[in-house]
Point group: C2
DNA sequence: CAAGATTAATGCAGTAGTGCATGGTTTGTT
DNA sequence: AACAAACCATGCACTACTGCATTAATCTTG
């Protein structure tokens, strides 16, 4: 190992704290919503927001569950009015699961609150040296790589406009 | 509002992506462990790591569940060998829940993996300008404030040594 | 068209998590 | 000593999540 370990540890330590803060924030932005949506359910909604209408099998694949689980997950979300099944003519076996307006709104609201919290959190920090700050963070995000859909929330925003 | 909104949005956007990356990383660092521990169970273990041995009521309070739920949560964790009940002489009503070595190790392993992922993620970035980077992040962590126990993992590390 | 593959739903079965109400033990307070 | 309070466990009831095996409908392909 090299001698950078000391400062590297500082960085990693800071990131760990940051990670904890973020995870808590993300959890709260969902829990504070009075809607009674579980985490697996929310994940399902997010898949639909980012990937668009999906068949049950695709949904199951994306969530790494069996299709029977996906089927029943959709039942619950349908019961809550957050998604809808839609038959399509070209393949009458497949059931296309789509978001309802309520489902879109819910994910949007969670995202909005998340952005709000983060914005408040950053606040003055961004005021003082915003660009360097953004650059640092973006470099980090890029380093994180493997975020398959780093812009998915952006896509959602444009879709809502 | 001021005209900084554009750059602020960049910052918030970067943070959102970062948050997603972190949440995913945190989830994976638990899921990749072959141990069959659920999120609520892990939360319980974390409370015990950070707060030390707890009575059922305190645990329930901390997790914001009823004590019956806490009781049964402990049953499950006892069955998995991750915590143990310990009667104490000074109050024979109370059952003190303590971590076993296996429980400590599990939390430690999750933390280790998390640190490892983050370290790998930062890597070269920290190499080039480590101190400025750490400073930025620490400022952000400080801004996040309200992390009640930002150093809890540190405490754990020293406790293990 | 017939055989096989794909897709979704359902019955069955199990664990996890949750709260409410109840009972039992122990402690604390008159 | 009697009564109240604290603490835990348990019975009961319910929802969510999960997979496996099966069935039914619908393509697809030979």
């Amino acid at each position: 190992m090299l001698e950078q370990t000391a400062s590297e540890d500082q960085v990693v330590g800071a990131l760990l704290s940051l990670s904890r803060a973020f995870v808590g924030l993300a959890a709260r932005s969902l829990a504070d919503l009075d809607e009674d949506v579980t985490l697996p359910q929310y994940r399902t909604l997010v898949v639909l927001v980012s990937r668009g209408p999906q068949r049950i099998v695709d949904l199951a694949q994306e969530l790494t569950v069996t299709s029977s689980t996906a089927t029943r997950m959709c039942n619950r979300l349908v019961r809550k009015g957050l998604v809808a099944r839609q038959e399509r003519p070209d393949d009458r076996r497949a059931a296309w699961v789509t978001l309802t307006a309520a489902g879109r709104d819910l994910v949007g609201e969670v995202m909005r609150r998340r952005r709000e919290s983060l914005a408040g959190l950053v606040g003055e920090l961004a005021m003082t040296r915003p660009l360097a700050f953004a650059a640092t963070l973006n470099a980090l995000v890029e380093a994180a790589g493997e975020i398959p859909d780093a812009q998915w929330w952006q896509r959602w925003e444009t879709a809502v406009d």
